[in-house]
């Protein structure tokens, strides 16, 4: 669906994106993660046809974005981080404008406007001037604009930036609904919890280079082959740190009160044996289990731990 082939973009002496080679299949929700300045926005802007690559090629649904921009853009819905809307238009007029700009036939446009307004929950504001909307509402209107023409691909650049927690939750629910409708989404963010449970694939960018890309499940399992993090809790006084220190395949132990975390590099059987050993040593275990890896954990493992 989205193909980046040897994509490169330079700004003067700075190589913002270096020889990117990624393919995102249909229906995938691809999270582009990395610190500020990693090249995420540049990639999305090139994918939209807003920036010309210095070298390389991008195709969306098989259409070369820079050779046939208008055709490619009919498949794309784009939303950036901070943006304005035309305050002097009404909500429906704004969507009507973009529907026409995407050359939707009149017969489809009117019902689609109502459908999209309903989808983003702006029914009561349909005939209101945009200048009266809150920031969160404007962001929802932005999403409505991006999907008015039923694009196959959504390119979202830090869509949750500057939103309050309620608006972020709304946005997340909206994106989940779009995902369930089968849209292919490329979303960039440096607020990683926003992408949790939403992305099916991730790509980690560092200094313009894609350091790791793949399905979240695959990367998690690959990383899990190396080690896992185990959380445990217990009651009563017990020499837990001492027992763990003497155990095989255990490292990075962190104990706070009656809770602890440690890194374990052994097999599942060895982990079960360790639990048994703790109990046999008189530790009254309340809970013991592997910590599920979040995208943030994965990112921290994969990246160079730059300041987010």
């Amino acid at each position: 669906m989205i193909e980046f082939q040897n994509l490169r973009r330079e700004y003067g002496d700075l190589v913002a994106v270096r020889d990117l080679q990624v393919s995102i299949p249909e229906g995938e929700v691809y999270g582009l993660i990395g610190p500020n300045g990693a090249g995420k926005t540049t990639i999305i802007r090139m994918a939209c046809g807003l920036l010309t690559p210095t070298a390389g090629r991008i195709t969306i649904s098989g259409v070369d974005v820079h050779r046939h921009p208008e055709l490619a853009q009919s498949h794309i819905g784009y939303l950036s981080d901070f943006f304005s809307v035309y305050d002097d238009l009404k909500v429906w007029e704004y969507l009507d404008y973009f529907g026409r700009a995407y050359k939707m036939p009149d017969s489809q446009l009117r019902p689609r406007i109502d459908e999209v307004i309903q989808q983003v929950g702006l029914e009561v504001k349909r005939d209101s001037l945009i200048r009266g909307l809150s920031r969160g509402m404007k962001q929802r209107l932005g999403i409505a604009r991006a999907i008015i023409h039923k694009p196959k691909v959504l390119l979202l650049d830090e869509p949750a930036s500057g939103l309050d927690p309620k608006a972020r939750a709304d946005l997340r629910n909206l994106l989940l609904a779009l995902r369930s409708e089968g849209a292919t989404v490329l979303i960039s963010s440096h607020i990683l919890p926003d992408l949790e449970g939403f992305c099916t694939s991730i790509g980690v960018m560092e200094k313009g280079v894609m350091v790791r890309t793949g399905r979240v499940a695959d990367i998690s399992s690959q990383e899990a082959q190396h080690f896992c993090v185990v959380r445990l809790s217990w009651v009563g006084e017990a020499p837990v740190e001492q027992i763990l220190s003497s155990a095989n395949a255990v490292s990075d132990i962190a104990i706070r009160g009656y809770e602890g975390l440690f890194r374990f590099t052994g097999s599942d059987d060895e982990l079960a044996a360790l639990l048994q050993h703790l109990i046999s040593q008189g530790v009254r275990i309340l809970s013991f289990g592997e910590v599920k890896q979040t995208i943030e954990d994965l990112y921290l493992k994969l990246s160079l731990n730059e300041v987010m």
């Binding site: 807003l50 210095t54 921009p69 950036s80 404008y97 050359k103 790791r212 994969l302």
Partner: protein, 506 residues
Amino acid sequence: MQAPWRNPELIRHARADLRPTRMVTAAAVSVLLCALLFLMFYHSSDPATSAPGEREIPTALYISLVSGQALVLCLWCLSSCGQAISSERSLKTFDFLRTTRLTSGELLLGIVFGVPLMAYFVVACTLPFTLILGLYAGISLLAIAATYLMLLLLAVVLSLAALAISMMTDRPRAGELLLLLALFGLPVWASMIGASSNSPFPGLTAILVIVGLLPLYHVAPMPYEPITQLTHVPFFGFQVPSLLLTVVLYVSVGAWLLLILLRNLKKDREDIRLLSRWQVVGFTVYLNVLVFALLDLRTIHSNSSESAFTSDIALGYLGLNFLILYAVGLASLTAPARLRSGWVRASSSAKFYWSEDGLPWPWMAASALTAFLLFVLEAVVARPFISFSEWSVGGLAAGLFVLLVFAVRDVLFLQWCALKGFRSPAVKGMLFLLLYYITALTITGFFFHSGIAWFTPLGVFGDAELGTPVSVFIGVVLQLVVSVYLSIAIRQRLVPSPLPPLPRMP
């Protein structure tokens, strides 16, 4: 292409700007102003000498209203279109427009007529007044129609020019100021050249729309005698109505602006290149042909000796083409990233030099050659007035070559500045060059006269003392050495530097 009335951008502006309350207010204010003007004129007229209903008052009212409409429309177009793109960019809404399926042409149409829509509406509200007053004053319908068509043409060209500036600048205020200076200063200056007695370019007066329109009102374009001839001006040797030449000038300039906008409107500001390489050469052809078309061979021929005349023309031609070569060079400067990628792709082949991502000098040379060939062609065409042998074709070729060498040196320096990573490299580079020329002229002017031709192109234009063939030759050799040095410096900056180490894989 959508029908104009279905253009989304136009509809957007119509919806936002022409809401019923705003329309009623604008119409009421316009009508009120017309009524006030009407009352003022009738009140101030002396009833003893001019009874109401005489033609002077309606004529004066008509002129005042049309002037007011023209002023409002032109200033509104300049101001609103001068900010149209830069303000959308700063609001980050322009990217959304660029990602729609609207073509540059559709977007342009919508902006040019949509952004100043309120001004068009105000003019439309007052139009019935001017129409009635004009007819009552005995002005022909043709004159009124021609006036409004010319006003529309002027407004569109001004909007295109303002939009081009807005597309290139992030600071609308600076852009507007620059535009106002260029749009009001240049035509007035050009028309003054055209209007001066024995001017070789009387057609330049047509750059002022009013010069072409006044004959339709049976009024001489200028109050003094020689200018009355300007109701018809020479164009390619034929006497054509001044108004027709005005249309030709505005339409042709508008067409170039349109081309620039259509090429670049949907591009990112960093990717904007006003014209392609071939279009730049085309622009050279346009300017040279236009200047030749405006030249009144018969007038000059009758006023001076043939040799002095051809010498003046050749010098003027050299001066014009020196400016054109600079413009071509500046327009052909290549962004460092594109130059590098072009170099990496095809540095070993001649393709690099002629590609869109190559260095500017081959295209400057092509422009100079084109200008020379056009000059020869024009000399052949002008044979009925001046024999071909009177033109110093060889001298002109040599002069053009010398100017090309100097222009290439300066443009290579600007390209090097861009590669060096200066901020606003063209502006900074131009300032360095200005400093160089001032220093060179001061030192050589005081101590070393013949050195002027060594360090500046003035040897081509100066007298024999300043520009002896030997000193001009030395100047050319010096500039070629500097140009080669600059080319080597540029080449060194194009060679890909070793990449910084990749981030380690986990």
